[in-house]
Amino acid sequence: MNTYLFLAYSIVWVIFVGYAWTLSRRHARLRKELEDLKARIGKAPKP
């Protein structure tokens, strides 16, 4: 009986934490790329 209860809460937990985690990683990667790109523009000589 309580297996169902446990499963329900665990799966929901996994869904949302999993998503939040993936989101944060994607965002961090984007930000890093953005920083790198901005640094490169800073270093490159102005045309």
């Binding site: 009986m1 169902y4 209860l5 329900a8 929901v12 869904i15 998503y19 989101l23 984007l30 790109l37």
Partner: protein, 227 residues
Amino acid sequence: MKKLFPPAVHLAVLAVWLTLALYLIFLYAPREATMGEVQRIFYIHFSSACTALLAYFFVFLGSMGYLWKRSRRADDFAYASAEVGFLFCCAVLVTGPLWAKPAWGIWWTWDARLTSTFILWLLYIAYLMLRSYVINPGRVEILASVVGVIGFVDAVIDYMAIRWWRTQHPQPVLGGGSGSGLDPRMWVTVFVTWGAFLCLFSYLVRQRMAMAEARRELVELRRELAA
């Protein structure tokens, strides 16, 4: 967005609220007479369902906002709401059967609520698939907005019509009417849990929108470099 309410604070509020909700669910709300402990699934099931519905309304709002004003922000909001709303819809479809089986003996039935929720799930999938599959990136927002609007019209017709349909073709109703005989302590738990889920929704949408903006900045920058 809101400088008064930075993401860190949002996250903290969310953590507290969720903890409170969990406390209420497991230690405050009374044990249900007939179903026992399993009934506690109801709190997250109900909260997820309301949030999933609301989220699609936000998809509609964002889509209309884009069609009307060509607002990038509105489109970000629509896409974010769709992604996060889809998750909540999945949660509904997972928790539902897990509650129904021990409580009523069946995993599923095509009653009004379940059918509408399933169609809503399909509408989310349609929207998300479209966003991934459009070939020309310049057209994806407007096409998605069209689908978002039509989908919402369908969702409204759905929730209204399925009630009529099920009076014609009755099936066992799971949930026995969510309002039936709820202890006042249960009501409190329902509201707090729903609030917590809305807080979760808004946090995830916000983060998702920030990511969309970052990606756009990146694309702009790359374009500048290439020029």
